[in-house]
Amino acid sequence: MFPRTPALFGLMALTAGLWIAPGAPAMAQDHPIPQALRIEQKETLEQLTALAARPAPVGPAAKDALALLQKHYAREREFILPPLTLLPQLADGKVTPDMAWALPMTERVRAEREQIFDEHAEATEALNALLTAAVEANDNDAKEFAESAAGDSLTDLEILEPTILMIGDALRAKLPAAH
């Protein structure tokens, strides 16, 4: 049954808005991230979770890194990475009004660049600590993980973040002015 009175309709709309995205109406809908990055995040967290179960010094160092990465990945899934799903269409020269959802995300990435960079710096510190622990424990898995994860962080800064900002620029330039 649909609401019949304006007041009830308004209340339901407001409730729905709050339910979908408390405090972040610009990102009211959930959007996926590219599957390749979903797999990468999943594998990274699995590896780190396994390392976190190891005894000291590797385990505690891995736990610290895991906590940081979980927090960062949540932000990546929330607004940093979803615009990348538009790349195949943009590469084909297609820009359609239904892509407008990505604009608030790219704008947030631009606004929070320093914060995102600081998160990477914190991750570097945690990975340095993990690598130090790995060397101390002669743990090659942890050593390889730390060096590989540092490389992933550079990929984010060198490639993904600039690409996301360029997606925003492309959308802003080509979408109708209403967006």
């Binding site: 960079f117 600081d118 990477h120 710096a121 914190e122 991750a123 570097t124 510190e125 990975l127 340095n128 600590a129 690598l131 130090t132 060397v135 730390a146 060096e147 540092a150 490389g151 962080s153 550079l154 800064l157 060198e158």
Partner: protein, 130 residues
Amino acid sequence: MTVRHARVAFASLTAAALGSFLMPGSAVAGDPVAGKAVFQSNCVVCHANRAGDNKVGPTLWGVVGRKTGSVPEYTYSPANLGANITWTDAELDAYLAAPRAVIPGTKMAYAGVKDPTKRADLIAYLDTLK
């Protein structure tokens, strides 16, 4: 004085003042043996200490005395390429204290070595990489 030079001067002055306040004389001569430990716990995930071995960051072999953006086979950020800094001990001290204050836009995702003694030790170690 350019903005960068002003930042370097300010960072150097601040680092020197903090060093004098926190650990008198510590910024003058670092201990390269202690510095190797600082390198291993702060830098090695991204930097190698061997010639020609570029990882996430460029090799630190020969870093003292070389210009920013000059290591072959390493892709620098535009910020580092355009920084035009020669890595003296003083420049390294300022940079290692607060990398983004000295080279805004650097892709080195590292908050810096805040302890002036550790920084002096690290620089003393980097001085040996030649």
